[in-house]
């Protein structure tokens, strides 16, 4: 055992530190990685709306709301269905405007979805080939952005679960409301 050198133990010590760090992260499990858009102004976009033929849904709508929540959804997206009741809950909070972007969907299916499950949105933009949503950096559905006075402050990838609503979304909204 004469040949033992302390510095050779460094890697194993570092490994243990990181394992502890990672295990703490696992416990938390609420960390969501932020998007490129965070702290940036709302991207420029313009799209037709689902329910009203003559209107459009654009950057201006989002900026006009003090607090806006933009949710990207689709009728074919199963997680969106489970998320929908959470959005219905959120829509009841005063001072927050919910907007939807219907992503790569068929109108009939989308209307069916809204008619069955309720409409939490103030306006629903339609993007049926996915191009208009690109400025949002949409990777998949559902995704939700929280916008405060025209600045994107949070991006949620995947459906918002009840525990995430309580642990992440509501605290963020609480801070700015």
């Amino acid at each position: 055992m004469k040949n033992l050198k302390l510095k050779y133990f460094l890697p194993v010590v570092i490994t243990i530190v990181f394992v502890i760090f990672f295990s703490q992260l696992l416990k938390k499990d609420v960390t969501k990685l932020s998007s490129q858009l965070i702290e940036k102004p709302v991207p420029t976009f313009n799209m037709p709306t689902l329910l009203n033929d003559n209107q459009s849904f654009s950057t201006i709508d989002v900026i006009a709301s003090d607090i806006a929540l933009v949710n990207i959804w689709s009728s074919w997206c199963i997680p969106c269905r489970s998320e929908h009741e959470i959005l219905m809950l959120l829509s009841k909070i005063e001072g927050i405007d919910l907007y939807g972007i219907n992503y790569k969907d068929k109108e009939d299916n989308a209307l069916d979805f809204i008619n069955k499950l309720g409409n939490p949105f103030k306006k629903i933009g339609v993007d049926n080939n996915g191009r208009s949503s690109m400025v949002w950096g949409v990777y998949g559905v559902p995704e939700t952005f929280i916008i405060h006075k025209g600045t994107v402050i949070y991006k949620h990838i995947g459906p918002i679960h009840m525990n995430e609503l309580e642990e992440i979304i509501l605290p963020i909204l609480g801070d700015i409301l």
Binding site: Y8, F22, K28, Q36, R131, S132, Y139
Partner: protein
């Protein structure tokens, strides 16, 4: 018998056979035939994988995985790809690749029987761990609880051929480094870390590197073309997770070369071997556990995260503890000269690891602040660009002088002599370019000059006349890979410097000027499509009076459902990609036109192809030389 049970039995066979094989690591060995137990897991997991593909192709909705990820009307190719486009299936693929490496290695002609046995045994231990993981938390053959007649997986975003093939290629890269780790363990246990060990490990390190490079390149290519907003690298945590083992693996590969030639740096090479696979595992952990959420994440599940973490901890702690005891004994006492090929390779080693550190920090920092400060931070491209800039400059510098230095010791003057002409030539070209086109900043001039010098030096190096191979030398592979790297940095810098984007408000017959290119807005036409009316604008890219290119961005108004979409007109040329997008604001008599010019994107792909071909030709030459 139902197919799911067959799959389960196959995976159990894989589990047991690898467990039996891994007992060879214990001091008291049971005498078993390594051939049977190292190959059985391969056959069984291969069959299980084929079975999984079969139930996907068959749209067998008795299985939860098929229900969640497939649909009977999906095109065949996506049904097949659906088999590994999810957590469970990809884990099975991961296991299959682990066993493939063990299988091929079991045929290798290494005569050191004890060493070989230990390598196979450690590899089997990892196969055992992952198979256990699969069976306990992520079984792809789980039947559905209710009767389901149709699948849910018809997401059009995910129906993309590149998206289907890039993960398997990336896996081969990641998992290839598992065998490298097994080599390190085997080498430490049998005290066999020397020139010969380096010769044995060399092709494996290279193979894993080739696949990882290709996998990362394809991922980036997909992001550029499919996501369509002109970016090819987003410093997304999952992209970083694949970049980190690449950086460590590149450093490792260069160390293996030094070890092979000079028989030095034993413990350092071992450390890098362990580190490279650790980073592959950490990447897997971050992606699979749901700690990072991004495009690439599969449905997350804390139980899975915990399992990978425990497994990762066991593998790493075993490896690094062994290293702590064995490391000091491995090194040869030998002096290294400050000016020599090995010292410049070593310098690059440190630079690659510094890059790795920057990326590692950038990836984990937001997680750390979130955990300790309860505060979300995001680390953007600026952090990476600013921190990596000086490192890249030095890296390029050592890549230029390294290959021209001699082993053992060299004189600074002779290295300078061999490269100075090409350096001056490059500097002149870049300066001329800077004066003629655009004023470049000092950093841009420095980077571009170094890249160009590297490319020229490597071309000269690779094509030097050699008696045996006419004009091609065995170092052709190295030269190609280095040219590729130089070209990569060159095109990335040039793209960042010369990319242009501008929004115009235009009327017909206006001339829009961007970056000295004139776009003439010629006409607006109405058109009737199958189920839409469209407005098509015509723009011509002009050179005085001649028309060079025609752009026809389009706005489509669909009647049912009432939708407006805007179609980008993109022209991809060898040197530049040009995007023209149009938008018509309500109640206005002009249109909004956005023009992007993105130079040298195709060079980025070319550079990756060069690196991959370089790696492959290095392997081919090696095999040829052995014979």
């Amino acid at each position: 018998m139902n197919l799911g049970n067959v799959g389960n039995i196959l995976m159990l066979v894989c589990l047991l056979a690898s467990l039996i094989q891994s007992t060879q690591l214990l001091p008291k060995k049971i005498d078993i035939d390594y051939k049977i137990f190292s190959r059985l897991p391969f056959y069984s997991s291969l069959l299980a994988f084929i079975l999984l593909i079969y139930i996907f192709v068959d749209s067998n909705f008795n299985y939860q995985l098929v229900v969640n990820n497939s649909h009977s009307e999906k095109p065949l190719i996506y049904k097949i790809a659906g088999a590994w486009g999810n957590h469970e299936g990809s884990l099975l693929l991961w296991i299959l690749v682990l066993t493939i490496f063990n299988f091929i290695f079991s045929y290798s002609k290494i005569e050191h029987a004890d060493f070989k046995k230990n390598v196979i045994a450690f590899q089997s231990l990892m196969i055992f761990g992952f198979t256990l993981f699969l069976l306990l938390t992520s079984n792809p053959f789980t039947p559905t609880e209710t009767i389901v007649s149709e699948g849910l997986g018809l997401n059009p975003v995910l129906q993309d051929l590149l998206l289907a093939i890039h993960p398997p290629i990336l896996y081969v890269g990641y998992v290839g480094y598992s065998l490298v780790l097994s080599f390190a363990i085997g080498g430490m246990i049998t005290n066999k870390v020397d020139k010969e060990w380096a010769q044995w490990i060399h092709p494996w390190v290279l193979t894993a590197w080739i696949f990882l490079t290709l996998g990362i390149g394809l991922g980036s290519f997909w992001a550029y073309y499919e996501l369509g907003w002109g970016g090819y690298w987003f410093w997304d945590p999952v992209e970083n997770a694949s970049l980190m083992p690449w950086l460590a693996g590149t450093a490792l590969f260069h160390c293996v070369i030094i070890l092979e030639k000079k028989n030095i740096l034993q413990s350092w090479t071992i450390l890098l071997s362990i580190l490279t696979f650790s980073l592959s595992l950490i990447g897997t952990f971050l992606v699979r556990s749901g700690i990072l959420n991004s495009v690439h994440t599969f449905a997350s599940d804390p139980a899975r995260g915990l399992f990978i973490l425990i497994f990762l901890a066991i593998i790493l702690i075993i490896s690094f503890t062994l290293y702590a005891f064995k490391g000091p004994l491995l090194d040869n006492k030998s002096e290294m000269n400050l000016v020599s090929k090995e010292s410049s390779i070593l310098a690059n080693n440190w630079l690659l690891l510094s890059t790795l550190f920057v990326v590692f920090l950038g990836t984990l920092y937001p997680l750390g602040t979130d955990l300790f400060l309860q505060k979300s931070t995001s680390v953007g491209p600026n952090y990476y660009i600013l921190s990596l800039l000086p490192i890249i400059v030095l890296l390029l510098f050592f890549m230029i002088i390294g290959p021209n230095a001699k082993w053992q010791s060299d004189k600074i003057s002779s290295i300078i002599l061999s490269t100075n002409k090409l350096f001056i030539l490059s500097l002149a070209i870049i300066f001329g370019f800077s004066i003629y086109f655009d004023e470049l900043h000092l950093t841009q001039i420095t980077l571009l000059t170094l890249c160009l010098t590297l490319i020229l030096v490597s071309i000269k190096d690779g094509l030097r006349v050699n008696h045996n191979y006419t004009i091609i030398k065995p170092s052709l592979g190295k030269s190609l890979a280095h040219i590729g790297f130089g070209l990569l940095i060159l095109s990335v810098v040039a793209n960042a410097t010369f990319a242009q984007e501008k929004i115009f408000q235009a009327k017909v017959s206006d001339i829009l000027i961007l970056d000295d290119q004139k776009f003439r807005f010629d006409s607006v036409e109405q058109n009737k499509g199958k189920n839409y009316n469209s407005i098509i604008a015509t723009f011509h890219l002009m050179d005085n009076k001649t028309i060079l290119e025609t752009f026809k961005p389009e706005i489509r108004v669909y009647s049912n459902p009432p939708t407006v979409t805007s179609e980008t007109s993109i022209i991809r040329k060898f040197l530049t990609d040009i995007y023209v997008v149009m938008n018509i604001p309500e109640n206005s008599d002009f249109v909004n036109v956005r023009i992007h010019i993105k130079p040298l994107i195709s060079f980025i792909w070319l550079s990756i192809i060069l690196m991959v071909i370089g790696g492959m030709s290095a392997i081919v030459f090696r095999i040829k030389l052995k014979k």
